[in-house]
Point group: C2
Chain length 346, copies 2
């Protein structure tokens, strides 16, 4: 293709940096054009057609203007970026050829030029839905795997509590814990999600935190002998209550604190002395430090998916136009299961 | 001694459970009597003469009426208990004989009957001051050793911050870190203590936290590239500021939170999201879980003491009458170095 065709390229743009709770109107859909070819002078790059985009809580941080954080801020006026599944349609990189399927960082737009190809994984296993690579077979799956097996040091028979348990990561952590023979309880924010935890994901118990006046009492009800492992996705008041209910030598994997992301000032967490009296290990982690384990993870998870031992629920928004609402909905818990956006089918 | 002599036995009694800041008047000196012999029917017990008593921050918790804590509450009307150095004057236990010197849990009184002998260590090395077994060679020394080497995973060249650094534990942690080749900064609450840290204990830097309006700015001044290891003795606002200044993959050993012990309600700790963004491991510990390492610790520390490579400062109160003031003084930071009480010389 000496003269590549120029096509329309719909993009999701961040209008301005966000403070407080983000709104759909902080994002806008913009129509631009692009040529379906890597520019001549650009070596080691690929031009992809984006198929599925992943909506993830950590993206809230990128909507703020901050320096020195663990993730870069988005650039106002430009399309936002995130994890997605894409198909290569042109390549100047020796490792990628046309029609390769990849997952990793891409733009929220129809077509993206990707120079940072080191963050991409080639998709080898296509016998599962491709959209799974935005979640269970992508960043969320790896987060659950690393967080549970590497950070929590779990043992058969231990008691496990997971907050935001019906989310992309939580639903998997709970199922991993059940596979290991743990007692597993999850919290979520609607009756529908609580039902999902108990009936679809096989949690032993689940509760709607919004219906509990006293989180400490709720945890005591489900964990009369305490919690060995807490998989932390929400922070704030839930963490405070959990600290009171941990068992001696308990472990807390700190994966996310979604209750804090839209506050101007983080809430203070009480009951920190429990760390000493109960000899708790509390450890934050980022999946990005652990991608060398991805092949090992795939080897474990693919058979579980094929044999139906692990269930997975997606909340699928159709079309880029629906992407702003899908992303913002994460922060009010509107999604049920893993939120993703279909940009195009293969 | 068929008919052991009955002698006067001065005791320090907790009058009532304490809420808020403890006062000297919460304790009283009481004169009772005791026979200098283990009662006939009591097997496996020893009668000791107490020589030195240790004043430790954790004792504040025992002055409150609580259940289910990691330490038992004291019993109002009875002598309080704590770590001490004692001399055996009668024994019905095959492992102990008269004139043995021991350290471990004893009563705040002149003579104690000890049935829980499993918590005692026999003192074998008498070429150092016996009082050292209330601190550097006892619980505080083991706490510093375990906390630094086992919990902090320290490496040569790392940056280390210690709060309450001139206390019994802090002064040792700092010296261990210097011996390993770390950059070490400590905080304390008076100019005298800051001088001690720099001039006696060889810290690279030290500051008076009471003179800093902005703890975050103070930490940035001493750690422009961040903190690898924080040895936590105080909690509250200091922990909040430290969380902002930790480096990626930093470690926090949570040893104590003395700033919180006299509050009706613990302060909330902000900046907890740093645990994730910086992948921090924060781990509480109690020395009681680690006493199997005591022989290994002695092997390491004794040569350092004898060769003058480790310094140690004691704040010595004379006589049981001075014990209430010595203990209460801990919570306002009145002591300089390890606070102990001499009950009797050998």
């Amino acid at each position: 293709m000496a003269d590549a065709v120029e096509v329309s390229n719909k993009q999701i743009i961040l209008k301005n940096y966000v403070t407080g709770f983000p709104k759909e109107s902080d994002l806008e859909v913009k129509i631009t054009t692009t040529r379906l070819k890597v520019p001549e002078a650009t070596q080691n790059a690929i031009l992809v057609k984006n198929l599925y985009l992943s909506c993830d809580p950590y993206m809230r941080n990128r909507m703020s203007n901050h320096q020195g954080s663990y993730v870069e801020s988005f650039t106002p006026g430009s399309p936002i970026t995130g994890y997605g599944v894409s198909k290569v349609i042109d390549s100047t990189h020796p490792d990628f050829k046309n029609d390769d399927l990849v997952w990793g960082f891409t733009g929220w737009e129809e077509y993206s030029l990707i120079k940072a190809t080191q963050s991409l994984f080639k998709i080898q296993h296509k016998e599962v839905p491709l959209s799974y690579y935005t979640g269970i077979l992508g960043m969320a799956g790896m987060t659950a795997y690393v967080g549970f097996y590497e950070i929590c040091s779990p043992k058969k028979g231990e008691t496990v509590f997971i907050s935001a348990a019906s989310g992309a990561v939580g639903q998997l952590v709970g199922q991993f814990a059940k596979l290991l023979g743990c007692y597993v309880v999850g919290s979520a924010g609607t009756k529908e999600k609580v039902d999902l935890l108990k009936n679809k994901f096989g949690f032993d118990e689940a509760f709607n935190y919004k219906e509990e006046e006293d989180l400490n009492a709720a945890l005591k009800r489900y964990f009369p002998d305490g919690i060995d492992i807490y998989f932390e996705n929400v922070g704030g008041k839930m963490l405070e209550a959990v600290l009171l209910n941990m068992r001696i030598h308990g472990r807390i994997a700190v994966c996310g604190m979604i209750s804090q992301y839209n506050l101007e000032k983080q809430e203070g967490v009480q009951n920190m002395f429990s760390l000493i009296s109960k000899r708790i290990r509390m450890q934050g982690f980022l999946v990005g430090d652990h991608y060398h384990l991805y092949p090992k993870f795939l080897e474990m998870i693919l058979p579980h998916i094929k044999e139906g031992k692990v269930n997975y629920v997606e909340d699928i928004a159709q079309g880029l136009e629906s992407a702003p609402a899908a992303l913002i909905g994460l922060f009010s818990g509107r999604n049920v299961g893993k939120q993703l956006v279909v940009v195009a089918h293969e």
